[in-house]
C-alpha cells in the first residue's frame, strides 16, 4: 500500500500540498468542525484526488504525524494494492434507532472476504453503544470493527460526517476492507484512575442518567467540579464515569455528551444500565500517556504502514498542551516507517481486549494499524 499525507489550515488553505500524481482508493480527512463547515473541503480534496472515496469527519483535534493540531484538516490518501474497499453511508434520521442503523450498515458491507469495518458516526445524535451492537449483530466474529464518533472541539452541539460529499450532521460512514492480504491490528487503553465511592445507578433510561444512590447525578457532578461546573458539559470530561464489571477488562468508560439542567439529567455516549456499579475516574497525567503506549503495544504489529489513532476529547482537555506526548509515545513505538493520522473524538469504537466483538469506549486512545502483506 501507498500513503500520501497533507495538511489544510482552517481558513488558510493547503499547508502542505498533496501530489496530484498520487491515485488513492480511499482518502481520510479528519478536520476541525469550523473548517469542515465553512471551507468546502470535499470540493478542494476532490480537485486533488479525482479518483477514490473521500471520507470526512469533524474532530476535537487532529492527529497528523506526531503532532496534534487544532483548526486544521489532516488528509491521508491511501492506495491499497491488494485490498478491495467499499464505502457505505447511513442517515440516523432514516433508521428507527441507532441499533437499526448499525444493522443496516453491516448488512450492506457484509460479503465475501470482509476483514474489517472502519466506522465514523455523528457524535451527538447517535447512541454509540446501540450503533456498535447493531453493527456486530449479524457480523462474522473474525471481522474487526473499529472507528469513532465525530466531535466538535468539546462543544457538544453539532458534528459532521460525510463520504464523497460535503459532510453533514446525523451521518454514519462505514468503510469495508476485503481480502486476505490486509493485516489489521488494534489496541485500546485508558489510563484513568478510579476514585471516590462506588455508586449504584438507581435511575437511568438508555444513555440518560438521572440518579446515583438515589441522589441527582448532575448535582453530584456539579459538587465535584466546583468552580469548573460552569464549563459543563465540557468539564464533565474531567470525571468520566466507569461502569464496573466483574473484572477489570470488562470495565467500560462513559463520557458525558450533554446535560439538561432543567431535567437534572446527563446524557452519555453509551448506555448506563440500571443497577450498575459505577465510580468516578480522574486523570493521572503520566498514566494517560502511558495508556497510549499500552494501546500501541496491544496492537502488536511491529511494522504497520498506516496507524489511525482515535483518542478521546476528554484526554485532550486534561493533557492540554502536553497532548502530543501521547501521540509521540505511539509514534515512538511503531517507528518512522508508518504514516500516522487520527483525531480526538466523542467516543472510540474498538473490540474489547481479547475479543473481536467491538464496543464503544470513552476516554481511551484507540489504535488501528494497517499493512498489506505479500
Amino acid at each position: 500500500m501507498k500513503v500520501q499525507q497533507s495538511l489544510w489550515r482552517e481558513g488558510k488553505g493547503w499547508a502542505s500540498a498533496p501530489s496530484m500524481a498520487f491515485q488513492p482508493n480511499i482518502v481520510f480527512a479528519f478536520g476541525a468542525i469550523d473548517a469542515l463547515a465553512n471551507d468546502t473541503l470535499y470540493s478542494e480534496i476532490r480537485k486533488v484526488y479525482p479518483e477514490g472515496d473521500i471520507v470526512l469527519v469533524s474532530t476535537a483535534g487532529e492527529i497528523h504525524g506526531d503532532e496534534v493540531n487544532d483548526h486544521t484538516v489532516s488528509i491521508t490518501a491511501c492506495h491499497f494494492e491488494k485490498t478491495a474497499i467499499k464505502v457505505v453511508e447511513g442517515n440516523v434520521s432514516d433508521c428507527a434507532n441507532s441499533f437499526e442503523c448499525g444493522r443496516s450498515i453491516s448488512q450492506r458491507l457484509n460479503g465475501a472476504g470482509l476483514r474489517h469495518i472502519l466506522v465514523f458516526s455523528d457524535g451527538i445524535s447517535v447512541n454509540g453503544d446501540d450503533l456498535v451492537r447493531g453493527i456486530n449483530d449479524d457480523l462474522p466474529s473474525e471481522v474487526v470493527v473499529t472507528g469513532g464518533l465525530a466531535a466538535d472541539a468539546g462543544r457538544f452541539t453539532k458534528t459532521l460526517v460525510g463520504a464523497n460529499a460535503e459532510p453533514q450532521s446525523n451521518r454514519i460512514v462505514a468503510i469495508g476492507f476485503y481480502g486476505d492480504k490486509l493485516k489489521i491490528t488494534h489496541g485500546s487503553h485508558g489510563g484513568w484512575d478510579l476514585f471516590g465511592p462506588v455508586r449504584t445507578v438507581t435511575k437511568a433510561v438508555d444513555n440518560v442518567l438521572y440518579e446515583l444512590d438515589g441522589e441527582n447525578a448532575l448535582e453530584i457532578y456539579k459538587r465535584y467540579l466546583g468552580p469548573r461546573a460552569a464549563e459543563l458539559p465540557g468539564s464533565a470530561l474531567l470525571f468520566p464515569l466507569c461502569i464496573l464489571g466483574g473484572d477489570q477488562e470488562s470495565q467500560l468508560v462513559r463520557t458525558i455528551l450533554s446535560v439538561d439542567d432543567a431535567a437534572g439529567t446527563l446524557r452519555f455516549a453509551g448506555n448506563i444500565p440500571m443497577g450498575a456499579q459505577v465510580q468516578f475516574m480522574m486523570a493521572n497525567f503520566d498514566r494517560l500517556v502511558d495508556g497510549a503506549a499500552k494501546a500501541a503495544e496491544q496492537s502488536a504489529d511491529q511494522s504497520p504502514e498506516l496507524v489511525i489513532m482515535v483518542s478521546c476529547v476528554g484526554r485532550k482537555v486534561v493533557l492540554d498542551q502536553r497532548i502530543e506526548e501521547e501521540v509521540e509515545s505511539v509514534c515512538q513505538y511503531f517507528g518512522s516507517n508508518a504514516a500516522y493520522t487520527g483525531f480526538y473524538s466523542n467516543g472510540e469504537i474498538s473490540p474489547q481486549l481479547g475479543s473481536t466483538k467491538c464496543s464503544l469506549h470513552n476516554q481511551t486512545m484507540t489504535i488501528t494499524t494497517y499493512h498489506e502483506v505479500e
Partner: protein
C-alpha cells in the same frame, strides 16, 4: 504594555528574569502565552483535584459513618438474634461467642432440623391417613360454617362423589335423598359424637354409616372446625335387623306359647271346676259311708288338679304382667287364725308339731291383697310340711317398724325339714325347679309354688329370703309394708246369701257352667231364666223385665259383647249386666266394660264374690 497579561507567577518570573519586560517581541509573545496557559491549566487542575478530593473525602467519611452506624445496628441485631436464638433453641450450647455468620449457620441448621421434623410429621400424618384409608374409614374436615374443607378419598368414595366436588358441602347436602326431618341424618358436630346414620348412595339401596365427630382446635385452643370419620356398617346393620326380627319372631312364639298355656289351663280348669262343683253338690246329698269315702278321694284329687292348673295360670299371668294386687281390708289375726286351722290339720296328720304366733304390736286391721298373702303363706307352709318328716313347722308374724299410716311386717315360715344345700338355694326360686329332680319323685308338686310366691312378694315390695342348713331346717321369710285400715273396727261380715224376689237372666252356653250358676242362684232363692246365646237373651229382655243379667262372653250365634251393645243401644236398657269372662289373658274384662257391662266376675266364680256383686246391683238402690 500595561496590566497583567500572563499568569501571575509567569509575570513575576518575567519581571525578575527578563530584562526589559514588559517589552517583548512578537515571537516571544506567542511562546509566553503558551507558557501562561500551561500555568493556568495547572492551577485549574489543582483546584479541580482539591475540590474533587475534598468532596470525595467528605463523601467517604459520610459513608464510613453510615457504615459505622450500620455496624452498630448490626451488632445490636446480632445481640437480639442471639437472644432470640437462645430462646428458640434452648438446648443449644451458649451462642455468646458466635458471630453473625456462625449464627446464620446455627439458624440454618435448626431450620433444617425442623424441616426434617416437619417432613417426618407429614410422613407420619400421611401414614395415619393411609391407615385410616386402609381401614376403610372415610375422613373429612369441616370449618365453623359446617362446610367440608378437606376430604379424604375413601370418604368421597363412600358417598359416591369426587373429593373436589365435596369441598364446601354442608352436612345437609349428604342426606342422600333422605328427608331433613330424619333425626338420624348426618350432622357436623363440633363436639365428640358417635351416631349411626342412614344414607342413600346415588339414590340407590339404603346404606348405614357409623359416624364419629370431634372438634378441631387452633393454636389458641379455640374450636376452628371439626373432623368426621365414617364407616360403612350396612352389612352389620342388616345382620342386626335380621336378629331383631328373629327375636321378635321368637318373642311372638313365646307369647303364643303363654297364650296356649293359659288357654289350655283354662280349658282344663272348666271341667275340673265342674267336678269340684258337682262333688260339693253331691256332698250335700244323702250318701252312705262308702260313697262318702269315694267322694272324699275324688275331691282330694280334683283339688290337687285345680291347684296345679291355678299355679300354671298364675305363672302365665305373672309372666304376662297381668296380675294386679287388690286393696282389701282385713284382719291379720283373724285371717291367719282361720288359715292355720286347715294347715295345722295337715301338719298334724303327718305327725308334725305346728304353731304360729303374732306380735302384739301388729294393728288390728290392714289393707292389702289378703288372698295373695294367703296364697304365699299356704304355699310356704305346704312346702314346709311336705319336706319335713319330723319335728315342727311354724309361722311367725313379727313387727318390724311403723309409720302413721303403715306397718312393716315380717312373715317367717320355719321348719325342721331336710333343708336346701347352699349351692342349690338360688335355683329353688326358678319355675319348675326343685332341690333336685329326685325331689319331685319323692315329694310330688309342680315346683311352681316358690317361683310364684317370690314374684308376688316382689310385687308387694318385699323380697323372699331363704336361710337353710342341710338336714337342720329351712326358714323362708319376707317383709312387706301393709297400710293400716282407716276404720279398724268393721263389722264382721257374715255370709247369709238371700236373693229372694230377684229375677236374673243367666246367659251361658256351657252346660256345666249353666248348671253350677243356676244351682247357686237357686240356692240363694233367686228367680232364674236361662239363655243359650246373645240373640236369645235380647229376645227375652224384650219380653220381660229382669233385675240383672249374667252374661257369658264367648257364645255361638251372638257373643256377649255384641249382645250387650245391642241391649244398651237398641233396647236402650239400663239393666245391670255382669260379664262372666273366662280367659284371664286376652283383655276380655276390659273389653266387657268398654262394651257397656257394669262389672264382671271371673270364672270359676267364688260364690261369695258372685253373691256380693249381684246383691250390690239389685239391693243397693
Amino acid at each position: 504594555m500595561t496590566g497583567k497579561k500572563y499568569h501571575r507567577l509567569l509575570e513575576r518570573q518575567l519581571k525578575k528574569f527578563l530584562p526589559g519586560y514588559p517589552e517583548v517581541s512578537e515571537e516571544w509573545e506567542a511562546l509566553l502565552s503558551a507558557i501562561s496557559n500551561s500555568y493556568e491549566h495547572s492551577d485549574n487542575d489543582r483546584v479541580l483535584m482539591e475540590t474533587a478530593m475534598r468532596e470525595s473525602s467528605d463523601e467517604l467519611m459520610a459513608k464510613k459513618e453510615a457504615v459505622n452506624q450500620m455496624l452498630a445496628r448490626q451488632s445490636h441485631v446480632l445481640e437480639t438474634l442471639k437472644e432470640a436464638a437462645s430462646t428458640l433453641f434452648p438446648d443449644r450450647p451458649s451462642l455468646e461467642n458466635e458471630d453473625l455468620l456462625q449464627l446464620a449457620d446455627v439458624v440454618q441448621e435448626e431450620i433444617q432440623k425442623r424441616e426434617i421434623a416437619e417432613t417426618r410429621k407429614a410422613q407420619s400424618d400421611q401414614r395415619l391417613l393411609d391407615i385410616i384409608e386402609s381401614l376403610n374409614l372415610g375422613m373429612a374436615r369441616y370449618d365453623l360454617d359446617g362446610r367440608l374443607t378437606q376430604v379424604e378419598p375413601r370418604f368421597a368414595d363412600i358417598f359416591g362423589r369426587s373429593e373436589a366436588d365435596m369441598i364446601g358441602l354442608h352436612a345437609s347436602d349428604l342426606s342422600g335423598g333422605l328427608g331433613s326431618e330424619d333425626q338420624s341424618r348426618i350432622q357436623f358436630y363440633f363436639t365428640s359424637n358417635v351416631f349411626e346414620s342412614p344414607y342413600r348412595k346415588n339414590g340407590e339401596e339404603l346404606m348405614w354409616l357409623l359416624c364419629t365427630t370431634a372438634p378441631l382446635f387452633d393454636d389458641a385452643g379455640c374450636v376452628e372446625g371439626g373432623v368426621i370419620v365414617v364407616f360403612d356398617i350396612t352389612s352389620r346393620k342388616k345382620l342386626e335387623q335380621e336378629m331383631i326380627e328373629a327375636r321378635k319372631a321368637a318373642e311372638a312364639g313365646l307369647e303364643l306359647r303363654k297364650t296356649i298355656l293359659a288357654n289350655v289351663s283354662h280349658e282344663l280348669r272348666t271341667p275340673v271346676n265342674a267336678i269340684v262343683g258337682m262333688s260339693a253338690l253331691l256332698a250335700s246329698t244323702e250318701l252312705n259311708e262308702q260313697q262318702r269315702d269315694y267322694l272324699k278321694t275324688m275331691r282330694f284329687s280334683s283339688d290337687g288338679l285345680l291347684v296345679l292348673i291355678d299355679d300354671l295360670l298364675d305363672v302365665s299371668r305373672i309372666e304376662a304382667g297381668k296380675v294386679e294386687l287388690e286393696e282389701i281390708e282385713f284382719s291379720i289375726r283373724e285371717n291367719f287364725s282361720e288359715l292355720t286351722k286347715a294347715l295345722r290339720l295337715r301338719a298334724e296328720e303327718k305327725g308334725l308339731l305346728f304353731d304360729w304366733k303374732i306380735d302384739e304390736r301388729i294393728a288390728s286391721r290392714h289393707q292389702g291383697d289378703v288372698h295373695r298373702l294367703n296364697q304365699i303363706i299356704t304355699n310356704l307352709i305346704g312346702n314346709a310340711i311336705k319336706f319335713t318328716r319330723e319335728g315342727r313347722v311354724g309361722l311367725e308374724i313379727t313387727f318390724a317398724s311403723e309409720t302413721n299410716d303403715a306397718q312393716e311386717i315380717r312373715f317367717s315360715v320355719i321348719d325342721t325339714g331336710i333343708g336346701i344345700a347352699s349351692e342349690r338355694q338360688a335355683a329353688v326360686f326358678h319355675a319348675f325347679a326343685q332341690e333336685d329332680s329326685s325331689t319331685t319323685r319323692k315329694y310330688g308338686g309342680t315346683g311352681l309354688g316358690l317361683s310364684i310366691s317370690k314374684r308376688i312378694v316382689e310385687m308387694m315390695g318385699g323380697q323372699l329370703i331363704l336361710t337353710s342348713e342341710k338336714n337342720v331346717g329351712t326358714t323362708f321369710s319376707f317383709q312387706i309394708q301393709l297400710k293400716k285400715a282407716s276404720s279398724e273396727a268393721l263389722a264382721v261380715k257374715t255370709f247369709n246369701p238371700d236373693l229372694k224376689g230377684a229375677s236374673i237372666l243367666l246367659v251361658e252356653d256351657n252346660k256345666v257352667n249353666q248348671f253350677l250358676a243356676n244351682a247357686l242362684l237357686n240356692s240363694w232363692k233367686a228367680n232364674v231364666d236361662i239363655s243359650e246365646d246373645g240373640q236369645d237373651a235380647i229376645d227375652r229382655l224384650k219380653e220381660k223385665q229382669y233385675d240383672l243379667v249374667l252374661m257369658d262372653l264367648q257364645m255361638p250365634i251372638m257373643d256377649g259383647f255384641e249382645a250387650t251393645e245391642h241391649i244398651r243401644e237398641v233396647l236402650n236398657s239400663k239393666v245391670p249386666i255382669v260379664g262372666l269372662p273366662a280367659n284371664a289373658l286376652n283383655g276380655e274384662r276390659e273389653r266387657s266394660l268398654e262394651k257397656g257391662m257394669d262389672d264382671y266376675v271371673s270364672k270359676p266364680f267364688q260364690p261369695e264374690m258372685l253373691y256380693e256383686k249381684i246383691h250390690g246391683f239389685i239391693f243397693r238402690s
